[in-house]
Symmetry: C2
Subunit: 218 residues, 2 copies
DNA sequence: ACCTGAACACCGTTCAAGT
DNA sequence: ACCTGAACACCGTTCAAGT
């Protein structure tokens, strides 16, 4: 028989801190991620975190880059098909970590995102598009996946647990004779009549780039 | 001669609170907008604000809707031209109030946004597009202007005052032989070689919708 | 009706002290 | 090297008290 060492608890460390922070943000939202809460979750005091992480802002950067690393890079596909695939995967990862899209912009890219960005740009460079259209295409696709997911999640995440309830309240608050189109639109969503337009618009952008290139390069 | 009434100060009121809050967010960012700071700015105590506004969240909603009211609605144009015009104006307003795009999503639409949304949907309904494409088009255009502006501003606003400086630090931190495309891309931005792709992609989306409609409705 | 002071339960972070 | 307690300068908001 021996006395239990009170310090048998798993030691802290960037990796574990970041992982726990991500899990916490996934379940309760970034809004409720505080250094104090995170420390409690880990079984340490707040200030212990600062031995591994310079600030909350650095922690957020590390979290975003960790998630960026989850996006599997395509291989062996034709450039435009690979771009499409990569974009669809990005959306999946965004949806898995709904707090990421907002932070994505505010943080300077870390190593994983740097690789991701380089891959995207290389694919555009190899796509056959003119350099200028490749440049615009890179932004167009990035904006699409970001804007689309934000819109999609903004409604779900920030508006509380039940988007349907919010949507219903919203249309109930509208005088039906003045806002017929709004009401019809929201009802289409509630009825699940319309499929997601994410891939439709993505293809529309990619096809449009090709068409512009063909028109400009004749 | 008379004693100056200490209560000659302009009384509070939703309108004035919201206006001051917007001005404060415009100049210093939403990050530094606190109820306490706002009260100080207005010359009142914090708790006075709560006589006019239920919570900080309500205040943010009011601010967003006030800004939504700044977007001038088009009139007398053909539907698709009006949609285009409205989208360009939305981007201008977003740029004038860089804190708006992020909040836009988290808040349930107030009266001004309700009118804006109804207008957009009516224009799409009148555009001749099939109901389904009109539905998708509404989202596509909204996502584009939101995602594009967020990307554009995310870099400028959140990364500190000098985006060029950040960009330079970014490429300096990259091993040049491994990230040639990233470096080239950022350099294109720094050199101002590429014009904004906002309208280019917007047209690409609008044209693509028309083309899809023509193909589907033959 | 509108304003306010004290108080509560939170934040992120500094700094000096422990082992 | 890593952990911690006390302290600082902040938050949003409740509630009872003033006019």
């Amino acid at each position: 028989m021996y006395v239990v060492n009170p310090d048998e608890r798993i030691p802290l460390g960037r990796q574990r801190i970041v992982a726990t922070a991500i899990a916490l943000a996934d379940t309760d939202g970034v809004g409720s991620l505080s250094m104090r809460r995170l420390a409690r979750e880990l079984g340490f005091e707040v200030m212990s975190l600062y031995n591994h992480v310079a600030s909350k802002d650095e922690l957020l950067s590390l979290m975003v880059d960790e998630v960026a690393g989850e996006i599997r890079l395509p291989e062996g596909e034709a450039p435009l098909a690979a771009i499409r695939e990569l974009t669809v995967r990005t959306r999946e990862i965004y949806r898995r970590h709904p707090w990421v899209p907002t932070l994505w912009l505010r943080q300077v890219p870390g190593p994983n995102r740097q690789v991701l960005m380089e891959t995207q740009l290389r694919l555009f460079a190899d796509s056959g598009l003119s350099p200028e259209l490749a440049h615009h295409g890179f932004h167009a696709v990035g904006n699409h996946v970001l804007g689309y997911t934000l819109q999609e999640l903004g409604m779900e995440v920030a508006m509380g647990a039940d988007p349907d309830h919010v949507a219903r309240d919203f249309i109930d608050g509208l005088p039906d004779d003045e806002f017929p189109h709004s009401i019809a639109h929201v009802q289409q969503h509630l009825a699940g009549e319309t499929s997601s337009s994410f891939e439709l618009v993505l293809d529309l952008i990619l096809d449009g780039l090709l068409r512009l290139d063909a028109a400009g390069g004749e």
